[in-house]
């Protein structure tokens, strides 16, 4: 039976260690706020992978291009939901757009999100798919789908050679603009945490950078996982060039990301500021399983080793083995990045601002911030992705 909020707080009070400020018993940001940066991270990472194809002409990743964009869109559509649900007054959410307090990093959410959704993702998809929409508006056998495609052409039916050239150039520009936009979409979340000087676990200059790089890592891992899984479901051949390219991108992104996270820790331990005692107790104690075991060991070191082995010995390993190593690494990375978000958000609230004690957190089953809600919000993007694949047909029409 799940406890009410008041009952679980009364229970938490019994497990307090040391001295906490009375208001520090409660964790104000729970599973929903852990989910939000995870989801926007996946969006940013999937988009960066797509932009590697469009802007940097990495031909090997071509099979994932359209699918990456659709994945980014599916996750982006779900992204505001955890934020909306965690608010005390979700019915007042429009205030962020109407009277944004520009000294607050959170105030930019509405505009950055709207910009990224409309001016980057939807526009890039439109330029890439416009020709198809015009075709399918005529040729699709289903009358509802014909109407849908006609709406999506926005009334522009010119598909001459010159027009398609313009589409291509505009799409290229959008992708180039999209890269810093993706950094802004996820970076501002890292900035929110990094700007909270009241909390020594959060308030560091490296926080936005670490968030961005772990976002890229998670997005690449997601695409690696999805590419292999969906290809199997479609019974389509898996391009080994693509899998190997993803392995390499993931490996190098992980090197950068782990270097930054390691730097953060080395710097903290060396500087040994006032908060170092309570933070070491936090990392080695309350966060032993989620930080040391899951995030560092299973989520960072293990995939780094596996990926390095795959790359160094690539000509001695069979295709099948390289695919499995890629898949396992992607899964481990996805779990590890989730653990990182958990450790940042939940971990940062487990110790009191008095720096003298700890509170506890138990993830409930039902309720707004419960496990079921979190699972539902994680499954929803895949459902939306299914719908998007149905509409957009990234791998062409079944004949």
């Amino acid at each position: 039976m799940s406890l009410t909020v008041s009952e679980s707080l009364a229970e938490a009070l019994k497990h307090v260690q040391g001295y906490i400020y009375p208001n520090d018993l409660n964790l104000w940001w729970g599973a929903l706020v852990v989910l939000y940066p995870y989801i926007t991270g996946l969006v940013a990472g999937a988009f960066i992978l797509a932009s590697l194809v469009r802007v940097f002409h990495v031909k090997a990743l071509e099979p994932t291009y359209r699918f990456s964009l659709l994945t980014a869109l599916a996750f982006l559509l779900v992204a505001p939901l955890p934020l909306l649900f965690h608010l005390g007054h979700p019915e007042r959410c429009y205030e962020v757009l109407m009277t944004p307090h520009l000294s607050s990093p959170m105030a930019v959410f509405g505009f950055v999100y709207a910009w990224y959704l409309m001016a980057v993702l939807l526009l890039e998809l439109w330029f890439d798919y416009r020709k198809n929409f015009v075709e399918w508006a005529e040729s699709d056998p289903n009358i509802l789908r014909r109407f849908l495609y006609r709406v999506m052409t926005l009334g522009v039916t010119d598909v001459s050679e010159r027009s398609l050239q313009i589409d291509n150039r505009l799409g290229q520009t959008i992708t180039v603009v999209g890269i810093p936009s993706a950094f802004l979409l996820h970076g501002y979340v890292g900035f929110i945490f990094g700007s909270i000087k009241a909390n020594p676990w959060w308030g560091t200059v490296l926080m936005p950078i670490i968030f961005i790089f772990s976002a890229m890592v998670s997005g690449i891992a997601l695409m690696g996982l999805l590419y292999q899984t969906v290809s199997k479901l479609r019974k389509a051949p898996i391009s080994m060039d693509c899998v190997d390219a993803i392995t390499q991108c993931l490996f190098f992104a992980m090197i950068l990301d782990s270097a930054l996270e390691a730097l953060d820790w080395i710097h903290r331990l060396y500087e040994a500021e006032e908060s170092i005692d309570v933070l070491v107790l936090l990392a080695a104690g309350k966060l032993f399983y989620s930080f040391l075991l899951i995030q560092v060991l299973a989520g960072t070191l293990a995939p780094l080793v596996l990926l390095a082995v795959t790359i160094i010995f690539s000509n001695r390993l069979s295709n099948g083995l390289r695919r499995v190593l890629n898949l396992v690494s992607c899964l481990l990375v996805l779990v590890g990045v989730f653990a990182m978000r958990w450790n940042v958000v939940i971990g940062g609230q487990l110790f009191s601002k008095s720096l003298r004690g700890f509170t506890t957190y138990k993830l409930g089953l039902i309720g707004n911030e419960g496990l079921l809600m979190a699972l539902a919000l994680m499954i929803l993007p895949f459902i939306i992705l299914g719908v998007l694949v149905f509409i957009f047909r990234p791998w062409g029409r079944k004949t």
Binding site: Y21, P22, N23, K197, Q349, S352, S354
Partner: protein
């Protein structure tokens, strides 16, 4: 033809939206008035720019009776559970160094049972192990460079013209950013109003010429309250800063708290 049609389209939509806005705007004013009716006539005569409120704490006078924390909960209808406080009292017990002669002072033990609203039961630490011990009342530090007003995404956290950091609970979206940003732990999200809440220096009392509830019941004068713009010659807060050396909590964070403390120990965070 196409461009003319487009211009007409834009013009049409523009004029319609302007007309609609003009019609609906007075409804918005009325909606604000109905949702939030101004109360008594006396609040109409209060001019916030004529006052500048300050609270200062003489920690050495605090006896840890906890009447302030109890009065605050009553006056401001704060939820009675032990995890929501606008103000509380902490007890610091600094132990002797015992046999370890390299240390001048032993460890520090801090407690605040239910915020101190029922007073403090005698400490379980035996008296011979205690070097020094004292009480420290805690509240919103009314920062001049407050991280909480800076980070509110919608403008529901603000500093009033008379120097009090307040929350607009009818505009707050309950995101909790301000609660996280406060280095002093003085904010919380009220479970009933689902908005942020904190010490308001009993704004509803001071604007009527009364003292904050905690100052009213403090038996020893540890909490001192005054108006910097007051014309009366004996101003308790001015006397305080003249007579005492003062400190603020966590000065290195640059929040510029306006609540000054006298008699703090280095162990007080």
């Amino acid at each position: 033809m196409k461009t003319r049609r487009d211009v007409l389209k834009i013009g049409g939509i523009a004029s319609v939206s302007v007309c609609v806005s003009w019609v609906l705007r007075p409804l918005a004013t009325e909606a604000e008035k109905v949702a939030n009716p101004p109360r008594s006539a006396s609040t109409g005569t209060y001019n916030p720019t004529e006052h500048q409120w300050r609270m200062v704490i003489d920690s050495e006078k605090c006896i840890g009776c906890g009447l302030c924390a109890k009065a605050c909960k009553q006056e401001n209808k704060v939820p009675p559970e032990p995890y929501y406080f606008r103000t509380w009292v902490e007890r610091y017990v600094i132990k002797t160094s015992g046999k370890a002669t390299q240390e001048l002072r032993g460890e520090t033990v801090v407690d605040s049972p239910n915020g101190g609203i029922d007073g403090f039961a005698p400490s379980s630490i035996p008296a011979e192990q205690v070097l020094r011990s004292f009480f420290v009342p805690k509240l919103c530090n009314e920062c001049d460079n407050s991280p909480c007003t800076k980070c509110c995404p919608v403008g529901a956290a603000f500093e009033s013209p008379d120097g009090v950091v307040l929350v607009d609970k009818n505009y707050c979206i309950g995101c909790g950013f301000c609660v996280q940003s406060c280095p002093y732990g003085c904010r919380f999200l009220n479970p009933i109003t689902r908005s942020a809440e904190k010490c308001t220096l009993c704004y509803h009392r001071i604007t009527k010429g009364l003292w904050p509830a905690c100052v009213e019941v403090c038996p020893t004068g540890a909490r001192i309250f005054g108006d910097l713009k007051s014309k009366t010659p004996d101003n308790p807060v001015r006397r305080f800063v003249k007579e005492k050396k003062v400190q603020v909590l966590k000065p290195y964070l640059g929040t510029n708290p306006k609540v000054f403390y006298a008699g703090l120990d280095k162990e007080v965070r």
